[in-house]
């Protein structure tokens, strides 16, 4: 949204998952405990994101994209290192609430209830973000600043505060996602590494700065990867690189990208 490609997001996501290991421990959590863990994860990581914005990212908005990329990569390394110190380097597991550990039969196929819940939560947040950006005053100001920061200042928008809050909000969502993903993976400090590349692929294919683009692109990437696994197994894990390459060749700004941000990046 802000034209910031944020590598650190991956490590923030991992912190969310690690927080889940601390809050939940090795037991099967009840639903309230699990929701509590999700909230704690979102708050802890959100605050961490605010600190990162204020100390590092804020100074670099006016610099070039490569500086921002390097700085956020450095933050990724620092946060991962600090997480290893705090939580150790052996992978941990988190259980999902027992109620959600069964399968649900949909059209004859047995799908894990928890996966369905994740999809539903993802959809709810996508709609929520869409409404926030398109219906609220805060969202309107975010979009205005994303388009022209200088003009935003000139008419009196508090661009610093908006960017601070956006960064915090994005981080909190990463923390929440970390908690939610924890039961399905083996949790360690470098958990985010594998996701961050895929997320970048999604963002680049969808177009920088476009939420709708990201949404379409995430489905495209997911389905392509699934089809590849089924029909061309030797391509699995490789499909999003191919998609990125094709999109960059044919449409460098991505499916629905903002030409201005795309060109600058």
């Amino acid at each position: 949204m802000l034209g910031v490609l944020n590598f650190a997001h991956g490590s923030l996501f991992a912190v969310g998952a690690l927080v889940a290991t601390s809050v939940i421990g090795t037991v099967f959590p009840s639903i309230p405990v699990f929701i509590g863990a999700a909230l704690v994860g979102a708050v802890v990581v959100g605050v961490l994101g605010l600190v990162v914005e204020r100390t590092v990212v804020r100074r670099l908005y006016r610099g070039d994209h490569i500086t921002m990329l390097l700085a956020t990569f450095a933050i990724l390394l620092i946060v991962e290192g600090a997480s290893e110190l705090l939580w150790g380097d052996s992978p941990a597991t988190v259980n999902q609430p027992k109620v959600l550990s069964g399968n649900v039969h949909v059209l004859g196929a047995a799908l894990p209830a928890y996966s369905i819940l994740l999809v539903v939560i993802g959809a709810v947040f996508a709609v929520g973000l869409f409404l926030l950006l398109n219906r609220s005053r805060f969202g309107r100001d975010i979009k205005a600043i994303a388009q022209d920061q200088v003009m935003g200042e000139a008419v009196g928008l508090n661009t610093k505060r908006v960017m601070f809050l956006v960064f915090g909000l994005g981080s909190a969502l990463a923390g929440l996602a970390g908690v939610l993903i924890a039961p399905t993976v083996s949790v360690s400090a470098n958990l985010g590494d594998s996701y961050i590349l895929e997320s970048f692929a999604v963002v680049i294919i969808g177009g920088l700065g476009s939420i709708t683009g990201s949404l379409i692109s995430s489905i495209l990437v997911g389905v392509t990867e699934a089809l590849a696994v089924a029909y061309f197994p030797f391509l699995s894990g490789f499909t999003f690189y191919i998609l990125v390459a094709v999109v960059l060749l044919v449409r460098p700004r991505g499916l629905l990208g903002n030409a201005r941000i795309g060109a600058a990046a």
Partner: protein
């Protein structure tokens, strides 16, 4: 009463000064035009008044309050609105949304992130009316003609109900046929808002002489001359460094 007061303002970007020892007092309700050849420092001086550029030395006050280090947003909050040489506005928004954003910008405190985006009000309607864009309010701003973009910027400035309006080259890039309309528009604004102080930079002398109460000639970053429009126009120095000797005959 003095609206905008500059005392001994210098600005350099690490090299030689772009603006040097500029002192200028602008009365409430006055319209001052800043003229000068390219590279004279007009845009930099303008940036200092708008808070976008920070003076290296000297003092800027707004209604007696020191705003030398205030920054663009704070000046906007205190009633300074501006337009840009190349019109700036939020491209992906409609005409009306642009004006609404400008109208409400400095009230946004974000205590409640999900509060609904407000719609237009009388001030927005008046601003759109004043520049003749009422009928285009639902249009995407990116589809406006060049002249209308300039008008939209002026509407955005008016929607902030400014006490000081800074117009950077209000007719830059306009076709000759659009310029008289813009001059009339600005004259109308002056007449309807006698309390509003106005600073204009312009290359077009028709704009300057139609609107300005006072003209400041800038050369090499310094004020070479200031006075009533006729005085400045007729001064030999103005012809020498700016208008050229043929100016009189052209008129």
């Amino acid at each position: 009463m003095i609206a905008l007061d500059l005392v001994g303002v210098d600005k350099n970007y690490g090299g030689p000064p772009v603006v040097q020892d500029v002192s200028l007092s602008i009365e409430v309700g006055e319209t001052v035009a800043i003229i000068g050849p390219n590279g004279a420092g007009k845009t930099t001086l303008f940036g200092v008044m708008a808070g976008e550029t920070r003076a290296t030395k000297g003092r800027v006050s707004l209604f007696g309050k020191d705003v030398t280090r205030a920054g663009a947003r704070h000046l906007a909050e205190q009633g300074v609105a501006r337009t840009f040489q190349v019109a700036r506005y939020f491209l992906e928004k409609t005409v009306e949304e642009n004006v609404v954003i400008a109208r409400l910008a400095h009230q946004s405190r974000y205590r409640n992130l999900v509060s609904k985006s407000p719609r237009s009000d009388d001030t927005v309607d008046l601003a759109l009316d004043a520049v003749g864009l009422s009928s285009a309010r639902r249009r995407p701003s990116a589809t406006l003609s060049h002249g209308d973009r300039k008008s939209l910027e002026i509407a955005m400035a008016l929607a902030q109900d400014p006490s000081v309006l800074l117009l950077d080259e209000p007719t830059a890039g306009m076709g000759a046929e659009d310029i008289p309309g813009t001059i009339e528009l600005l004259k109308g604004l002056r007449a309807s808002r006698p309390e509003m102080t106005c600073v204009i930079t312009a290359h077009d002398m028709n704009v300057v002489f139609a609107l300005a109460d006072k003209v400041v000639l800038l050369a090499n970053g310094r004020i070479a001359l200031q006075g009533l429009p006729d005085e400045v126009r007729d001064a030999p120095l103005t012809r020498e460094i700016y208008l050229g000797n043929s100016y009189r005959e052209d008129r």
